[in-house]
Symmetry: C2
Subunit: 200 residues, 2 copies
């Protein structure tokens, strides 16, 4: 999909792709920028240890870019399933039961995808500290943009988890997911703040 | 350009496209999401005035998406010119003078582009309040993601303005640009906070 098509699809009156997809792409851009910074050699004062730390960050970040790209598509698909479930017939008791089950199953999917997006962004922000600390100072503003985008993506993904959890009836799933999301979000915020101090 | 190519280009060791491009695309995604929200009809309680306000917001936001898309490309080109200017010969006095002038001119361009990105994001955030207030509540998380992305994009653009201003010698240009950027940034932050309260 081209960038122009993505923007067109986000703008259209079709509810998907929506915020979940945009958040995942923003996170993928953030992770990509961090990968770039790990690649900009700093001729003067990078020790071998610094270089090894940057290489390790790059190895961790590269699959996150791919993962967030997949999640951008998965998010739209998961929400399409929710809308399809709501459109199921609801005349007979059997239909009502089947529809209710389909909605619950689809909502769980639509919760799990943004939770995975949040997890991927939180993971990228762990690497961001190393990148911001040891990366080329000439690329500090790139690292800064990356941190800001990953933070916004994590917040957006967290909001989407909570919205979809709202419709879910299974209390155990609800509690576990909400707790996991809250923990990932706090970790992401803390790592973003630490990383941002190196590039301020 | 496809989304995959954009991510690949951001990840590469080539300094462009970098944070300025990513910020502009993130802003364009945010503005696109706001356009979507203006299009999701709210069957129950939208008055004619509400609908008119949403239509006006959509009319304001649509050109901003296009503008930010252009600025994403312009940002990379402007920074390419800065790097080209630094590579100019610097043996003779005449060469030194020409190179210095080329660097200053290129840096002004590389400052103006993120300033325009910041301005476009600030403008989109003005519309965000209306969209968040009158838009369909079912799309509140989309509006929330949009606000977060526009805020991150504005911050990133502001950081890029400041970085490139650092190398500029004309004090008048420096002062005016820094002041304009600071004003736009404050307005963007205030509008983002107001808009976010409607979708929290």
């Amino acid at each position: 999909m081209s960038v122009a098509q993505l923007l067109e699809a986000l703008s259209s009156s079709n509810p998907t792709p929506g915020g979940g997809t945009a958040a995942a792409i923003a996170g993928a851009m953030g992770a990509s920028l961090l990968v770039m910074v790990t690649r900009l050699s700093k001729s003067k004062n990078n020790t071998e240890d610094d270089k090894a730390a940057l290489a390790m960050a790059r190895n961790g970040l590269t699959p996150i870019v791919a993962r967030l790209t997949e999640l951008a598509t998965a998010d739209a698909q998961a929400f399409d399933r929710v809308m399809a479930a709501y459109r199921l017939p609801k005349i007979s008791d059997a239909e009502m039961a089947a529809r209710g089950q389909a909605i619950q199953s689809a909502l769980q999917g639509a919760t799990t995808v943004p939770l995975d997006t949040l997890r991927a962004c939180a993971e990228a922000l762990k690497h961001a500290r190393v990148v911001a600390e040891f990366g080329n100072a000439a690329a500090a503003s790139d690292a800064g943009v990356a941190i800001g985008l990953l933070r916004a993506a994590a917040n957006g993904a967290h909001a989407n988890v909570e919205v979809n959890l709202g419709g879910i009836k299974g209390e155990a799933f609800k509690t576990t997911t909400a707790e996991t999301a809250a923990q990932l979000s706090s970790a992401a915020a803390a790592d973003a703040a630490t990383a941002a101090r190196w590039v301020a």
